[in-house]
């Protein structure tokens, strides 16, 4: 009985059908998001719960998702590795053309909040790896990608104000976007480009943001984008949750003390939540200190000190983690590990999965299995150990990435450089 209990603790048994949920299953709303005043529902953009599902969007092309994920990781690496002589040149690493978002059906997480007076409900991607919040704005002087909800029209909002290009907010753009604000008839103009060459250019402005009826913020600095292009299929813009002064948590710190929490649902027919403030934070949360990353102060740095597979701690020297450091990012799909840590994780995982049929690598994921014909799969648990004693066991869906039944892979990848 003990052995059986231990196995239950050290492994997950997954119904394989749950790796491919039917897109028609009814939406289950998060009770947390429904019951907490400062909480928003987090939905898969194309799931049954999304208000911006468009029949037009194709089902996600996983190989493309992971290719773009690599572009994001390269962009983060190049931002953080100013010290490295062999720094990946931005242009070389991000030579993906920015495309009209509607061509990619990728599985992002969005929240809907009200902007302007009268309030317009708009769905935004949220991203802890970004600081500036921006939305598309009429009259889209240069170009706007297609979005599901009406594009925001600042001239019809009584609470909209442009920011002067001689203001402190305008000068703080350089830390929030990497580009200094410029002037256009004394108005502050921002520009931001992302790793995959998506971009938004427009006026830095102040507006009223309404999370819920009782959580309303006047004068939030945000970008009103008149020239936006990229892979934002259908969403109105992006909510920046980074650590910079201009991020949304920093601008609402007086109310929420820079505290926010979220749960990303693992199926498109569930909503998760994005909650500002400490309302409803569970007492079982285990904390680890945020570490500051040189050249990356707006990222949330973490110190990983170990990994276990199936309850067994891997023999990884501490310097393997401490030399590169680590960060947590809501927008990176696949967590990357230092090469030696990934090799140890992969080896231990493979040893526990020896009863399953190996298959060839898919995209950046090199440890894959053909589970055709099976009803369940039993995988070892994977836990991360962080500085300060926090041990986090990943959910069963946090260990596998399922392309199809014949290609179910370990959902981690190795960085190419020990310093990344």
């Amino acid at each position: 009985a003990q052995e059986k209990q231990r196995r239950a603790i050290d492994s997950h048994t997954i119904q394989l059908s749950s790796l491919f949920p039917s897109s028609s299953s009814p939406c289950v709303l998060s009770t947390r998001a429904s019951s907490t005043k400062s909480s928003l529902h987090v939905t898969h953009r194309h799931g049954t719960c999304s208000r911006i599902t468009s029949a037009k969007a194709k089902s996600p092309d996983h190989a493309e998702i992971l290719r773009l994920d690599q572009a994001r990781v390269n962009s983060i690496h190049s931002k953080l590795s100013k010290k490295l002589t062999d720094r990946v040149r931005q242009s070389k690493s991000t030579d993906l053309p920015a495309k009209d978002g509607s061509t990619y059906g990728s599985g992002n997480f969005v929240v809907t909040l009200g902007i302007g007076t009268p309030k317009h409900d708009l769905s935004l991607i949220f991203d802890t790896g970004s600081d500036l919040t921006w939305i598309q704005c009429e009259p889209c002087v240069r170009t706007c990608y297609s979005q599901k909800e009406p594009i925001f029209n600042p001239s019809s909002s009584s609470s909209y104000h442009n920011v002067s290009c001689s203001s402190a907010e305008c000068s703080s753009l350089s830390s929030a976007t990497g580009n200094s604000g410029t002037c256009s008839a004394s108005n502050c103009v921002y520009g931001i480009q992302y790793g995959d060459q998506s971009f938004s250019v427009g006026f830095l402005a102040k507006e009223k943001f309404t999370l819920t009826a009782s959580n309303v913020f006047d004068g939030v600095n945000f970008g009103c984008g008149e020239n936006n292009q990229g892979l934002f299929t259908g969403v109105a813009g992006l909510l920046g949750l980074g650590r910079d002064k201009l991020s949304f948590p920093s601008q609402t710190a007086a109310t929420y003390n820079k505290i926010f929490s979220y749960c990303l649902p693992s199926s498109a027919s569930y909503t998760g939540h994005l909650t500002f403030g400490s309302a409803g934070v569970s007492r079982s949360v285990k904390f680890t200190p945020i570490s500051t990353i040189t050249d990356g102060t707006s990222f949330y740095g973490l110190d990983i000190v170990g990994i276990s597979v199936g309850g067994q701690k891997l023999a990884i020297p501490p310097t393997v983690f401490s030399t590169p450091g680590a960060l947590i990012d809501s927008g990176t799909v696949i967590s990357r590990l230092p090469p030696k840590a990934y090799a140890a994780l992969r080896g231990a995982f493979k040893a526990k999965m020896s009863q399953y049929k190996n298959t060839s690598a898919v995209s950046i994921l090199d440890t894959c299995y053909d589970l055709t014909g099976l009803k369940t799969v039993t995988i070892p648990t994977v836990s991360f150990y962080f500085n300060g004693g926090a041990v986090v066991q990943l959910g069963s869906k946090g260990v596998l990435y399922a392309f199809k039944m014949s290609q179910v892979c370990l959902a981690f990848a190795g960085n190419s450089d020990d310093n990344n």
Partner: protein, 33 residues
């Protein structure tokens, strides 16, 4: 950046406490409910 949800964080409660300078985790359950 290509903006997608992080696989490893799915169904975890992730708490960012900027003021206290810490990040926290708790198991949340399969559908975040």
């Amino acid at each position: 950046a290509a903006i997608f949800g992080n696989v490893q964080q799915q169904t975890l409660e992730v708490v960012y406490d900027g003021a206290a300078g810490r990040v926290g985790f708790a198991p949340n359950g399969w559908g975040c409910t």
